[in-house]
Symmetry: C2
Subunit: 337 residues, 2 copies
């Protein structure tokens, strides 16, 4: 797969990051360091760093949401900051819950600063997101946008709880997995673009169509993530190879194996009875691939991304933004990290 | 000390609790049980229970805020629900950070359900608070009230981070301690009454005066808490005797001892070098009391509560609500739990 980052990602970062840095700078001094570390702006001692801070897909969606309804990108800055804060708070908390020690090629916040710090800085980013969006005076639509942010955040957290519950159960179906991922990943991606459009003064019909685009995009995004979680290269994903198998996550490939049953379902059931070593992880990944499950998840990803793109034709959108939304969907398909 | 619960606490509970139960009922099924357990509505298996769910001081303040500006208590219901959700989310997360295993005479949420569950249900209550207040259609003031809720939540979280930082340091001054407690406890109490007044359509001057009342009330509240944390009875506080000394918290009595220095400062420094057994805790509590520090903190509490009450005279408030706000301040002084 190729992975050429679309121009909108760097453009959105240029627009949103100064405001994001300003927002993080407003946090209490006891809270700032783990946040700047997490975002890749500093090392763990506070020295400047240019470690990656994530792709910024959510803030790019907010910017494109505003531009799609013919508004200036500026009106979506607070929205872009808010969705990045919510996304990153959830990563910090999820890493504690999932016992993940590596993210973006570096030790996770709780691994460096402790569980207590991870909890409180995540809480601070969560509250700050609402504060920033409600305080925004660039447009009169802050309250409507914040309502969508609150709903997306609640759905995302419910998705995380569903994820933990699925992982605790013996098996999971693809339907359960997609329902969980729609909440965990789809809701915030969907509301990122919708919030941008709301802040830009978009009509409800357009905002709702962009939300639908975002939900389908989110499921496609997560399907690609689930492929990378098993077959991705550590060098690009920033996580250990086969991480989702090591953690025995009930991701889409595993859910499909359970739905199929037979040899492949049994192979997963057998593997998930105890800790797996690297050889067992490689063998299971190979078995899933031979059974055609990697291809099947990729085809699910492509279908959802195509569906997302088609949704954009149902309403009138500014052409440049529409083109960039399509580029973003295709980038999600092509990405290797 | 006497501790007759003022009528407004049970009245506010009657008004707010049905909406709080409805809100909690809207949580994903994977999230509900730890919340109903924490609130004392069920045991850990989901069987109905009438364990205490806290005094509900914050929702009572919200109700009185509305009534103080001559509005109906009903307009403050969503505000009351929101502040109770924020308060209780913070208790659940703080108990993890502080490694506390007992609250309200029962095992804490993380102790029963695990750290991961404690994190995610706290997050869910946090997001739900914003959702409830923004969705409220009883008054047109939801966005203004939510802005205050976000600021209070951010301050409360900063206060928790400051608390952790103080506990990590060798000593702390009374000024640092009060600054921390103003954030950790004062901000949400202050905004609880202010949010009620905002939802009731109160003038800015009145809302700001009620906020000032709440800040002073919060510091007085915390001073009483700090006395109970060392000298309170386990049977009434629901926590182990001398809990704050066992955890070597930098609460007001300890900060005063450090400010004084000399024998009492040295006694605390010496005691806080390693874990304390029950005899050492009792001996230190006795030393602090002999040095007059218990009386000094009680007098700080009384001063702040008097200051809070005086603030109520600076604006025109509905007389019955004003009387009940004063009763609440006096109850905070008299309480033994």
């Amino acid at each position: 797969m190729l992975s050429v980052s679309p121009a909108v990602l760097s453009r959105a970062k240029t627009i949103v990051e100064p405001a994001l840095r300003h927002a993080v700078g407003s946090l209490d001094e006891n809270l700032r360091l783990p946040v700047t570390y997490h975002l890749g702006w500093t090392d763990k001692d506070g020295n400047p760093s240019d470690a990656g801070s994530g792709k910024g897909i959510r803030s790019a969606l907010a910017i494109l949401g505003a531009e799609a309804v013919n508004a200036s990108a500026d009106v979506a800055i607070a929205g872009g900051v808010a969705v990045e804060l919510i996304h990153n708070f959830s990563l910090i908390h999820d890493d504690i819950m999932d016992n993940d020690r590596t993210r973006r090629h570096r030790a996770t916040v709780w691994d460096v600063f402790g569980i207590g710090e991870g909890i409180v800085v995540g809480d601070a980013m969560h509250a700050l997101a609402f504060e920033i969006l409600l305080d925004d005076s660039r447009t009169p639509h802050g309250a409507t946008a914040t309502r969508r942010l609150a709903k997306a955040t609640s759905a995302m957290i419910a998705g995380q709880a569903q994820d933990v519950a699925l992982d605790r159960g013996a098996t999971a179906s693809l339907a359960e997995c997609i329902a969980m991922e729609t909440n965990k990943t789809g809701a915030l991606l969907a509301q990122s673009v919708a919030i941008g459009a709301v802040l830009g003064g978009g009509d409800d019909v357009v905002v709702d169509a962009l939300e639908d685009f975002g939900i389908a995009l989110g499921i496609g995004f997560q399907a690609v993530d689930d492929v990378l979680g098993i077959w991705g290269e550590s060098a690009t994903t920033g996580k250990p190879v086969g991480n989702d198998l090591r953690e025995q996550k009930k991701s889409m490939p595993i859910a499909i194996a359970f739905d199929r049953g037979g040899d492949i379902g049994q192979a997963v059931l057998d593997a998930f009875t105890g800790p797996l070593n690297d050889n067992q992880i490689a063998a299971l990944a190979s078995k899933l691939e031979s059974a055609g499950i990697r291809d099947e998840v990729q085809s699910i990803a492509r279908d959802y991304l195509d569906q997302a793109i088609k949704t954009l034709d149902t309403v009138a959108l500014a052409a440049p933004a529409k083109t960039e939304l399509i580029e973003l969907a295709n980038f999600i398909w092509e990405r290797d990290s």
